[in-house]
């Protein structure tokens, strides 16, 4: 057996070979076109304990995201900014390969790509959530978990993170300011809340290249066989706010070809979010 199948189960190997055969004929599992996303289901408020949450199904990929707020000290070089922490884990339930334990480079890369999309897009007005400059600000935690991994984690996790943030409720900053003296004794979950208004919605689209053919939303088997994987994150203005070449290389022309496809697809996902009540 070829070495490239090391650590793969037989079922996975069959899936991978099948994906390759189909792509060679410009086909995909379930009669999907090269530029079609799988079914997307977005449900918000799935975790009542969090300030915001969402569960996203992208085909058989399942992601849960939760948003939490805490009080903390700002970084010394940005005393007037709230703090954002985005951390994702691929749970060991997600696949045979997924392992328990501290995040590996794959999980760190995914988290950081989604972090950059949220951070650079202007989605969050960081200056709004400062209680006392240089002393106390709101720490925004976005945690997401991959429950089942059938590929294209980034697009799914980005949708979940964005939906959780856009539907979150935040403890009233004004209330915290007024009660700052008791702040050590305040349970932040019991503070009156208001809607967490996001100012932009970044959309991540991951594009694959297989033998020169461009395709979107690769599933787990396709991720193994494509030569190239690249993610573009777009704003509602059409601007790009983040790019990440995840795998392989591409020609100069392919950079712009994949960018164009990503842009088109970002409009599509944006529409799906809107249909779920999430828009600017």
């Amino acid at each position: 057996m070829s070495e490239k199948y090391k650590n793969k189960t037989l079922a996975e190997i069959i899936n991978i070979e099948q994906a390759k055969n189909l792509l060679n004929k410009n086909l995909r599992k379930g009669d999907r076109g090269l530029l079609d996303y799988r079914d997307i289901k977005i449900e918000t408020g799935t975790i009542k304990k969090a300030f915001g949450s969402a569960t996203v199904n992208l085909g058989d990929t399942v992601v849960v995201a939760g948003v939490n707020f805490e009080l903390g000290t700002p970084f010394i070089d940005t005393p007037n900014n709230a703090i954002l922490l985005v951390e994702g884990e691929i749970l060991p339930t997600a696949s045979v390969e997924a392992e328990a334990g501290p995040p590996d480079e794959h999980e760190i890369e995914i988290s950081r790509v989604i972090d950059r999309g949220i951070r650079e897009s202007g989605m969050i007005n960081f200056e709004k959530y400062v209680i006392i400059p240089g002393e106390t600000v709101i720490k925004i935690f976005v945690d997401f978990n991959i429950i089942n991994d059938d590929g294209n984690i980034i697009d799914a996790a980005n949708l979940a993170a964005v939906a959780a943030l856009a539907t979150a409720e935040i403890p009233k900053v004004e209330y915290i300011r007024e009660h700052i003296d008791e702040v050590n004794n305040i349970n932040i979950k019991e503070i009156p809340r208001e809607s967490f208004k996001v100012e932009e919605i970044p959309i991540a689209n991951t594009i694959g290249i297989f033998d020169g053919k461009v395709l979107v939303d690769p599933d787990a088997a396709e991720e193994e066989v494509v030569d190239t994987l690249i993610t573009f994150t777009h704003l509602s203005t059409g601007e790009i706010c983040s790019v990440q070449l995840l795998k392989g290389g591409l020609t100069y022309e392919e950079v712009f070809k994949t960018l164009d496809v990503a842009y088109q697809k970002n409009l599509e996902l944006r529409e799906i979010l809107k249909n779920n009540g999430i828009s600017l």
């Binding site: 975790i47 304990k49 399942v62 749970l91 060991p92 945690d143 429950i147 089942n148």
Partner: protein, 240 residues
């Protein structure tokens, strides 16, 4: 027991929270299940039996059962660090120990069976709910077991013995008694208690938890039956 006694969430003393178990919810796992019990939402994935790695750690006469109980960062009132806490390590151990009594490990020498329990939302009594779901996931994976394992808790809140302790009751109550049993073999395989109980109260709580476990055992069977029927349907469809 006065019948008009009401608990913080309106339940009677011997009433379980609303519950629902679903089997076969994860595509990649060999077996999986989900339990919702009140606001608890727990997902379990089972992988195996598969060759144990590294080989020198494998056992020649039976499989190794691995179990991880883990809480998502957003599952609790205060954000939980994703790093395993001492509590999670203890619970992983007692849950594994309970399931080891049921799984026929001797059937799979040199192998391992991995059970991953992910608490997505926690609202008290997660350890026993986890066992209940894990047992269903093992059954779906086709792992031979001497009996199902099903868990339930009881406790003492405001002087009263009550069933299926919720989060607030756990914090404000006087005692918590989680148990897990093999319902047909009539054996206790998980038993913990903390708080204060007289021997009489302990007995009352224990028996109440037993009753709760038996009710959840019916739900386990229902979930597995549901899955079998759904699979038959799918088979039927693909045969059409």
């Amino acid at each position: 027991m006065s019948n008009n006694f009401k608990r913080i969430d309106g339940r009677t003393p011997d009433q379980l929270r609303p519950y629902k178990i679903r089997a076969g919810i994860l595509k990649n796992a060999d077996g999986s299940a989900e339990i919702k019990l009140g606001k608890n939402w727990i997902v379990v994935g089972v992988y195996g039996p598969k060759e144990h790695f590294p080989k020198f750690e494998a056992l020649q006469d039976r499989a190794i059962l691995f179990c991880r109980y883990h809480m998502a960062p957003y599952s609790t009132t205060e954000r939980k660090s994703p790093k395993p806490s001492r509590r999670e390590i203890e619970l992983s151990k007692v849950i594994r120990s309970a399931l080891e009594e049921a799984v026929i490990l001797e059937r799979f020498p040199e192998m391992s069976i991995d059970i991953y329990i992910e608490v997505l939302q926690a609202e008290g009594s997660t350890r026993v709910a986890s066992i209940t779901a894990a047992s269903v996931a093992l059954a779906e994976a086709g792992i031979p077991m001497k009996d199902m394992v099903v868990g339930c808790s009881a406790g003492k809140v405001n002087g009263k013995i009550v069933l299926d302790i919720g989060e607030t009751e756990d914090k404000e109550g006087e005692a918590d008694l989680p148990i897990a049993i093999m319902p047909n073999l009539k054996k206790v395989v998980l038993l913990q208690m903390d708080g204060k109980l007289t021997h009489e109260e302990f007995k009352e709580a224990f028996e109440m938890a037993l009753k709760g476990a038996l009710e959840l055992y019916e739900e386990q069977k229902r979930a597995l039956k549901d899955l079998i029927e759904k699979m038959k349907e799918l088979e039927g469809e693909s045969n059409e």
